[in-house]
């Protein structure tokens, strides 16, 4: 039989019976390591049991239950609330972020077209077709 810490705990808790108990006791008689471990475990248990019992303050448990149990029981509610808060933060950020200033190419094209009219090659070789002029099909 192999050394078994879990069987020592089971033995001390009175959970071993029949052949299992007989095998354990037989092994215990031959194995010094398990005998020592059994003694140590018994001493630790005895020490723990000898500690004084402290009464839990009267209002502690109800308060804890009041806070923890709804969180557990209403997980969907809290997930939804967190998602709504995140969306709200993003929406507010989007609203307060000013739209980036831009300039249209059409404005630039007008300036280019005006300058082109001073070009020596201005004329049939250089006419600029504005966006609004319909082109042939």
């Amino acid at each position: 039989m192999r050394h078994s810490g879990s069987q020592i705990s089971a033995y001390l808790d009175g959970e071993l019976t029949g052949p299992e108990l007989a095998d354990f006791l037989h092994h215990l008689g031959e194995c010094g390591q398990c005998s020592d471990e059994l003694l140590e475990t018994q001493e630790v248990r005895a020490a723990v049991r000898s500690l004084p019992v402290i009464e839990v303050p009267a209002g502690l448990m109800p308060a804890t239950e009041a806070e923890v149990l709804p969180l557990h029981r209403n997980r969907g509610f809290w997930v939804s609330t967190a998602a709504a808060v995140v969306i709200l933060i993003i929406a507010i950020a989007a609203l307060v972020t000013p739209a980036p200033a831009t300039i249209s190419v059409d404005e630039l094209n007008s300036r280019f077209a005006a300058r082109v009219s001073l070009d020596p090659a201005f004329g049939p070789a250089k006419v600029i077709i504005p966006e609004v002029t319909e082109v042939a099909e």
Binding site: I103, F112, R115, P124
Partner: protein, 309 residues
């Protein structure tokens, strides 16, 4: 003496038959500007993004042109001497002015003008000229002999392929009644500035003049003597609606071709840039490479912009 004669003969043999360098480019263009006529012009460009074409009614008188689409559109354009006015249904919808006093032409045009023979165009006697950059033909002009009007312009890419054709499909040496057009009274003329961070040279193009306005917009005008483009640098984003994404050297640009013209826009770390011009596509990458490269704001900023603008 024999050696000199041999040299002259060898020189003559090297010149192709029927080809000689002719008029100066600026003389040819100046003569065209002073002509008066009305015509229908077809503009057709084979661009990397597809064919772009337009048919317009074009009138020119004393250096000014007036044109409009050959459709039911009521939009008309007047342009000349630094002015640009777009009118629709009798109302000015767009205008711009550039003060021409500080504007100078390109000092050394890249192109030589080569006479390429006579032609008959729309029943009129005309002469053909080729603009050459060394061995490379970049444009072919057909010029009406009587008036100096450029009846046809064909531009080429660096492999000899046609990029754009601007050809008259009808021509009338008379100009119809020309209504008086007033520009927008609130429009102030742009005045050339002496200070700008825009490069003075870009891939063989020379910056002729530059304009800086109070809104933080720099505008440089570049020319190689025939093709020209503008570079804009702004401290805000420049929006191009309807463009396609063009990627080169890891940079991402928005690009749009319209008949005879190309527009690029791209973000930079502190704003945006744009290029607008008529240069052939094979010149685009070289020019863009010498300008500030597109700025990538990162995933989260792009996501934020796509969600909230």
């Amino acid at each position: 003496m024999k050696r000199l004669l041999a040299g002259v003969v060898a020189g003559l043999l090297l010149i192709p038959h029927g080809v000689a360098l002719g008029a100066e480019l600026d003389e040819l263009l100046e003569e065209s500007r002073s002509a008066s006529y009305s015509a229908e012009q077809l503009i057709s460009c084979a661009t990397p993004d597809g064919v772009r074409d337009a048919l317009i009614e074009l009138q020119q008188r004393a250096g000014e042109v007036r044109y409009f689409g050959k459709s039911k559109s009521t939009t008309e354009v007047w342009s000349g001497y630094g002015g640009w006015v777009v009118q629709s249904d009798g109302s000015v919808i767009d205008s711009a002015n550039v003060d021409g006093e500080e504007v100078l032409p390109a000092e050394e045009p890249r192109y030589q003008v080569e006479e390429a023979g006579q032609a008959l165009y729309l029943g009129r006697r005309a002469d053909t000229y080729v603009l050459r950059d060394g061995e490379l033909a970049r444009a072919e002009l057909i010029v009406d002999r009587a008036t100096g009007v450029i009846m046809s312009v064909v531009t080429f890419d660096d492999e000899g392929g046609v990029y754009c054709e601007r050809t008259f499909v009808s021509y009338n040496p008379n100009v119809p009644e020309w209504p008086v057009v007033e520009s927008d009274p609130d429009s102030e003329a742009l005045v050339a500035s002496s200070e700008s961070t825009l490069p003075e040279e870009l891939a063989g193009f020379t910056r002729l003049d530059v304009y800086v306005d109070d809104d933080g917009l720099d505008f440089g005008y570049y020319s190689d003597g025939f093709f020209s483009f503008a570079v804009f640098e702004s401290d805000v984003e420049i929006v191009l609606d309807g463009g396609v994404v063009y990627r080169v050297d890891g940079g991402s640009y928005a690009r749009e071709f319209t008949p005879g013209q190309v527009t690029y826009t791209w973000p930079i770390s502190n704003g945006g840039m744009a290029l607008i011009g008529d240069l052939p596509p094979d010149m685009h990458d070289a020019v863009l490479a010498e300008l500030p490269q597109p700025y990538d704001p990162g995933f989260f900023k792009r996501l934020w912009r796509s969600l909230f603008g």
